[in-house]
């Protein structure tokens, strides 16, 4: 065998093929590995330094119990009704309970810009997908699990919640509403 021999992937290599790689190959592997470490480091880093993480508060809940919790939330803070769906305006800092069910997001929400809420998501029946449109904030909604996410709306506007997990024939009708208003001047504490 000469010093350097090459063969295709169809040829059984003879002898010891555990040979050192060419310099170019080694360099690329080193760069690729370093890049993989960057990719890996970004995720924990963002938990410490970034503002958007899917951590949340997570626990199991019976669908019926969750529905009851949502109803209490609606009774407590209901301010109106739109398209037959109650509109609810929770105070800043409140726990907000949103229910996904075939084929409705219940209730509609009225929030204030720049204040934090704990947004709970769960389902009464099958999997649903919470997709705040057009902000593009997406979470899986799984029956039997409560996903409590601390959110701070960062701009005022009239947003939609689209369902983006297939949930049956009426899936496309499942559109909810989140209205975000500028916080009253007094709440900001500045003139």
């Amino acid at each position: 065998m000469s010093a350097h021999e090459f063969h295709s992937a169809l040829v059984p290599p003879q002898g010891i093929w555990w040979q050192p790689a060419h310099r170019q190959e080694k360099t690329w592997i080193a760069i690729a590995f370093a890049w993989c470490l960057v990719l890996f480091a970004m995720m924990p880093l963002w938990h410490f330094r970034g503002g958007q993480n899917p951590a949340g508060i997570r626990y199991r809940v019976k669908p019926d119990d969750y529905v009851a919790r949502v109803e209490r939330f609606v009774t407590d803070y209901k301010v109106g009704e739109e398209s037959g769906i109650p509109v609810v305006a929770p105070p800043p800092g409140a726990d907000v309970y949103l229910l996904g069910r075939m084929w409705q997001w219940y209730p509609a929400l009225k929030l204030q810009k720049g204040v934090h809420y704990t947004l709970h998501l769960s389902s009464q029946d099958v999997n649903h997908g919470f997709s705040l449109y057009p902000v593009n904030l997406n979470f899986q909604v799984v029956p039997g699990y409560d996903y409590g996410l601390r959110v701070v709306p960062n701009r005022a506007g009239d947003f939609r919640i689209i369902c983006n997990e297939f949930c049956g024939i009426g899936h496309h009708l499942m559109v909810g509403k989140v209205l975000v208003e500028d916080a009253p001047a007094a709440a900001g504490g500045r003139p």
């Binding site: 000469s2 350097h4 021999e5 090459f6 063969h7 295709s8 992937a9 169809l10 040829v11 059984p12 290599p13 002898g15 555990w18 040979q19 060419h22 170019q24 190959e25 690329w28 592997i29 690729a32 990719l39 890996f40 970004m42 995720m43 924990p44 963002w46 993480n53 899917p54 997570r58 398209s83 769906i85 769960s122 099958v126 999997n127 997908g129 997709s131 705040l132 057009p134 902000v135 593009n136 997406n138 899986q140 799984v142 699990y145 996903y147 996410l149 601390r150 959110v151 701070v152 960062n154 689209i162 369902c163 983006n164 297939f166 024939i169 899936h171 496309h172 559109v175 909810g176 509403k177």
Partner: protein, 576 residues
């Protein structure tokens, strides 16, 4: 004794092109699996046309129930039946045929094939009669007819048997010394695909058997645990595809341009990385799920610090490097890119290989790693970006590479000249161009927040009106035209494959000698499969500079796309 020997000998033929000893049992099993794979592709492609013409809102062809039914059928027939039947064919090739050995237990092979066909027919029957409108993932508590789950189980059991026959062929070849040295890289890659297939199918059993029982009201299924275990099947099966596709890349590199394995150690280690870290694959489907916490998500979604991504980035270098090396060894040594310019672009085997490599890497790989980042997934989960990504990997990558290798399988193993040869030469470009346009359209619509698996992009009848971004409406045209082009490419492929198998002219010695049409250049004149002496020394000095430039471009694209996504994420609501 002599009669026994001669009857064994009668089961073999010598391939006039490659010199391989091809046993007829494996050859027939390969043919049967490949033919059914193409039938599944036909079903999937016809469904795809309905889907494209429905999501393209100006046409909006199908009613909602048929849309979801076709979507279910499209996923199963393409992602499971087409790909896995074809992979069984790949295993029959990479095992007994490449290793020159007899087919172990051929009858068991036919039994496995039969089970898979019965399972697939059961599943399709349930889907098309409306008894399984649960989409590909069948997340409980959505429920299908119990025969749907049983069909999937039968198919999986058949596949498991066929995979074990591949392992058996490795043992037979080693024991009977049908080759010397180590197994070729193509076989090694197929072996990793087969190991991953076993892991995948065990996850499949763990999820589908309880779900089947549940569909008959026995026991309970937790929706979140189902999602975790199901994706152990659903995503790992894509890793079978990746390993099989990369093996096919290496194979086609050798057959089309005499491409070489630049370094056996590097390529094999990369394949092993796939096996080691594959079982974590379900994680990145659960990144914005309530069932698991951040530490679990970060460790698993990264496949233990992105070591499987590292493997793909290594193959992303070694495959084009092997092609460049082969071309340089054959004399295309000028400048950085003579090897690429003078590649056999009108050979659909080579075109399929190269387009598959580029689409998989640039469109599929970069978007996939980015999507699978814990926080960036908040931006992308279940939007059209997800199917945009996997149409680039599984369709533009895996399927296109399988199409490319089919142009070599037809003359070498069906021993037929490829029909409609002029159409075959452009088919990879039509299909690859179409699927790329479609995937880009989907990815951009997803960035604008458009949901996947959704019948009505106008949201008519919803309690609150939804204003669609005007750019999304424009992108639907890109998506629609790309999708139709891809479907056209798929139908061209099916027409070519069917016409060749059933009506093709035989590959004869005269046809090979006279350079008849319908025989790819690599079959007409097989490029050298091994090299030594001065050209090999020269190559070792010059290296593969063209590939270095290509991976540098790739790397820059990767960095830009990845960090652009972090920037987009930082504009969102605070959430945590």
């Amino acid at each position: 004794m002599t009669t026994a020997l001669s009857s064994i000998a009668a089961r073999f033929r010598t391939c006039p092109v490659t010199g391989l000893q091809v046993n007829r049992d494996s050859e027939w099993l390969l043919r049967a699996n490949a033919v059914i794979a193409v039938v599944a592709m036909l079903v999937g492609a016809l469904a795809a046309i309905g889907l494209v013409l429905t999501r393209w809102q100006t046409i909006h062809l199908l009613p909602a129930d048929l849309y979801y039914r076709f979507l279910t059928a499209h996923g199963l027939n393409m992602l499971i039946f087409w790909v896995i039947f074809f992979e069984m064919a790949v295993l029959y090739f990479a095992g007994p045929i490449v290793l020159n050995c007899r087919q172990p237990a051929p009858r068991l092979g036919w039994f496995a094939f039969g089970l898979m066909v019965v399972g697939a027919v059961m599943v399709d029957t349930m889907v098309f009669t409306g008894r399984a409108d649960v989409l590909f993932t069948s997340y409980p508590p959505l429920r299908a007819d119990s025969n749907y789950y049983l069909g999937v189980i039968l198919f999986a059991v058949g596949a498991l048997i066929a995979v074990s026959l591949f392992f058996a062929s490795l043992v037979v070849a080693k024991r009977e010394r049908t080759y010397t040295g180590s197994m070729p890289l193509v076989t090694f890659g197929a072996l990793t695909a087969a190991v991953i297939a076993v892991i995948t199918l065990l996850h499949g059993a763990a999820v589908y058997i309880p779900t089947w029982l549940w569909s008959m009201n026995i026991g309970n299924i937790d929706p979140e645990i189902y999602r975790m275990v199901w994706w152990g099947l659903g995503h790992s099966s894509q890793q079978i595809n990746v390993a099989a596709m990369v093996s096919v890349w290496y194979l086609l590199g050798g057959l089309t341009v005499g491409g070489v394995v630049v370094n056996e150690k590097v390529s094999r280690t990369a394949f092993v990385l796939y096996v080691l870290f594959i079982s974590m694959a379900s994680a990145h489907h659960l990144l914005v799920d309530p069932g698991v916490g951040p530490a679990w998500k970060i460790w698993n979604t990264s496949y233990a610090m992105y070591l499987a991504v590292l493997a793909s980035m290594i193959h992303g270098f070694t495959v084009p490097a092997g092609i460049e090396a082969g071309q340089r060894l054959r004399g295309y040594t000028n400048g950085l890119f003579e090897w690429l310019r003078k590649a056999p672009w009108s050979d659909p085997g080579f075109a399929g290989l190269w387009l598959s490599l580029v689409i998989f890497g640039f469109l599929g790989g970069i978007t996939g790693v980015t999507l699978g980042t814990e926080q960036i997934n908040i931006l992308a989960h279940n939007t059209l970006r997800v199917p945009g990504h996997f149409h680039a990997t599984v369709v533009g990558g895996t399927t296109l590479s399988f199409m490319g290798v089919t142009y070599y399988v037809l003359p070498l193993l069906f021993r037929k000249r490829v029909a409609f040869w002029r159409m075959a030469k452009i088919q990879p470009y039509v299909f690859g161009g179409g699927i790329s346009a479609m995937a880009i359209g989907m990815i951009l619509m997803g960035i604008l927040g458009m949901p996947r698996r959704h019948w009505d992009s106008s949201f008519a009848g919803a309690p609150f009106p939804v204003e669609i971004h005007p750019a999304a409406e424009l992108l639907q045209v890109l998506f629609g035209v790309g999708g139709l082009l891809a479907a056209t490419g798929a139908l061209m492929f099916i027409a070519i494959a069917v016409a060749t198998v059933f009506f093709g002219k035989p590959v004869t010695a005269e046809a090979l000698a006279s350079g008849a049409s319908g025989i790819p250049q690599g079959v007409l004149k097989l490029p050298p499969q091994s090299y030594e002496g001065p050209p090999a020394e020269a190559l070792h000095k010059s290296g593969v500079r063209g590939t270095v430039v290509l991976v540098a471009v790739f790397f820059v694209c990767f960095i830009v796309y990845y960090f652009t996504n972090w920037a987009m994420l930082s504009f969102l609501w605070k959430v945590g």
